[in-house]
Amino acid sequence: MYVELKHINKNYGNFQASKDVSFGIEQGKLVALLGPSGSGKTTILRMIAGLEHPNSGEILIDGKVVNDIPATKRGIGFVFQSYALFRYMTVFDNVAFGLEIQKVPKDEIKKRVLELIELVGLKGMEKRYPNQLSGGQRQRVAFARALAPNPSILLLDEPFAAIDAKVRQELRSWLKNMIEKLGVTSIFVTHDQDEAIEVADEIIITNKGRVEQKGTPIEVYQNPKTAFTASFFGQPSELVDYKQFNTFKDLKNVDKVFVRPEFVKVTKKSEQQFYKTSAVEGVIEQIFFRGNTLELVVRVGDNVFTARRGLDEELVEIGEKVDIFLYRIFVTSGDEAHLVQNQSIREESLVI
């Protein structure tokens, strides 16, 4: 493990922002810290950078405990959420700052800075001040500035938060390519699931100061291990009264039940229904056009949840009565979550 946190606790006054946080990151990996607002993501990042100090626990970088090494000496690159560019310096001086402090010879600084500015696609803007740049351009300057001293670790706090959706998409893939090319171990904070899934090699899910789960995007998506992850990842809806779905009514030890949109089969009355006996009737309450699918809000008794239908299927209408079949559900008991298949899938397919 290149970066390792061991049993980190962090308090701000009476408030505990990190609770027994432990995880490790391999060299060269791009890892996402994903969690709701206030779950302690920034706190973790700032402790790794040395801007904040844990009350207990150890932080290791490349096998060495760095708790007592100040931020100035850790050799980490940090891209702030607000970019924190130096307002009174030009783009060139911003990027050159770290190198000047290392007393790199002038001509080398110039060479490296111009190289980086070209790399991030801002050639010709060296003399501008931050307030003469667009959000996306500022983000790139922040990135170049963090990379200039060749850090071994790059930390990014919601690097795309302040950028509009379209540019964000571009920057995301750009950043991923760039980090891969440089091979620098990177951790980025986000609360956008799609961003984490798309960009990261691994995802660490945080909630209320704890690490809930860590794994590749596919692992975490398919196998939420904790109640929180099941309730958070993949647009789940909670079923407040799961007993209304016949096949699941005999479950034991159930705290909560969640369904993801892809767990739900919505069939029009006029369409052929494969799982007749275990389907229940529901009503379409809302329809959202999501570009490549229709997102439906469906009600079955007291349960209101999200489902999808493809655009190649026959259209449904608001208020229409439809058949609802659940392929599977997530069931949580205590802090754990597990997947439960609909048994009738097997039984009925045997009958047919």
């Binding site: 040395g50 100035t72 702030f80 924190a84 770290g98």
Partner: protein, 289 residues
């Protein structure tokens, strides 16, 4: 529709001119006229008399005392103001709010009380007078605080000490810690961060704070009045003006105005220097170095 728009635009224009007119009138009546009358009155008995009034021993002595007190007070308060603002905005500690409230005390306390407080501290009956005495006997010196120049300096420092930090703290608060943290992660030490990152942000607030501090130090009356009793020895310009005016003869009243005009001119000069300074740096920045 268009006519209506035009009407509205015209009435907006009228409001604008009325407001501008009112502000100009107010400033003229409250500021320009009184100050101009100081200058006019000071010249009532001719230019010769004006310069003679300014070159009496009393006035030159007062000028020197004022100069000493102002320079020391501004220097001390600039350092203090910078340190205090830094502490208040960059660190979290218990009693931080108390500290920033305490700094404002000179704003809310009458200067006369400040002067009396110094007498009660350093005067014959004050608790600190013994300390001063023992220092004097140990070093063979004869340092006096009250009714002497050090008292005048102390009083001036007291009444002017919030100015610099009051200007800087809001700027530092809105700027936040981001840039400084970014600089420290890039390896910059404390002094480098101050010089390269913080200072450019607070430069104008600092200049403005120093100017306000200077203006107040030059004009301080109440606190100094309590601590300074020797005309021609420890009197500052405002005290000298008061003494001239109070002596009541027509000549000395004109002299009082002449000395006042000196303070007015210094104030105007300070403001001009500031504007020139500001304009230069701004146009330099606009060119992008």
């Amino acid at each position: 529709m268009e006519i209506f728009d035009q009407k509205e635009a015209r009435s907006r224009k009228i409001t604008k001119y009325i407001l501008i007119g009112l502000s100009v009138l107010f400033i003229a009546v409250m500021l320009i006229l009184p100050l101009a009358s100081v200058i006019v009155n000071s010249l009532r008995e001719g230019v010769d008399y004006y310069f003679k009034a300014l070159s009496t021993d009393y006035v030159t002595s007062a000028l020197v005392v004022t100069f000493i007190a102002t320079v020391i007070a501004v220097a001390v308060n600039t350092v203090f103001g910078l340190v205090a603002s830094w502490v208040i905005t960059k660190f979290d500690f218990k009693g931080k709010n108390v500290l920033s409230t305490l700094i404002d005390i000179p704003f809310s306390i009458s200067p006369v009380i400040a002067g009396l407080a110094f007498i009660m501290t350093f005067g014959r009956l004050g608790w600190a007078s013994e300390i001063i005495d023992s220092i004097n006997s140990a070093l063979g010196t004869d340092i006096q605080i009250v009714f002497a120049i050090p008292g005048v300096v102390l009083a001036t420092i007291f009444v002017t000490f919030p100015f610099v930090s009051r200007e800087i703290v809001p700027v530092l608060n809105t700027v936040g810690k981001d840039e400084e943290e970014a600089a420290s992660i890039l390896g910059a030490g404390g002094f480098k961060i101050f010089r390269k990152i913080t200072f450019p942000h607070i430069k104008w607030a600092l200049v403005y704070g120093i100017i306000l501090c200077t203006a107040r130090a030059l004009g301080e009356f109440g606190a100094v009045h309590a601590l300074s009793k020797t005309r021609g020895g420890t009197f500052t310009l405002p005290l000298e003006i008061d003494a001239l005016y109070m002596s009541g003869s027509a000549d000395s009243i004109t002299a009082a105005f002449a000395v006042s005009s000196l303070l007015v001119l210094i104030a105007v000069a300070v403001l001009i220097v500031r504007n020139v300074f500001e304009f230069r740096t701004k146009s330099k920045n606009r060119k992008g170095k």
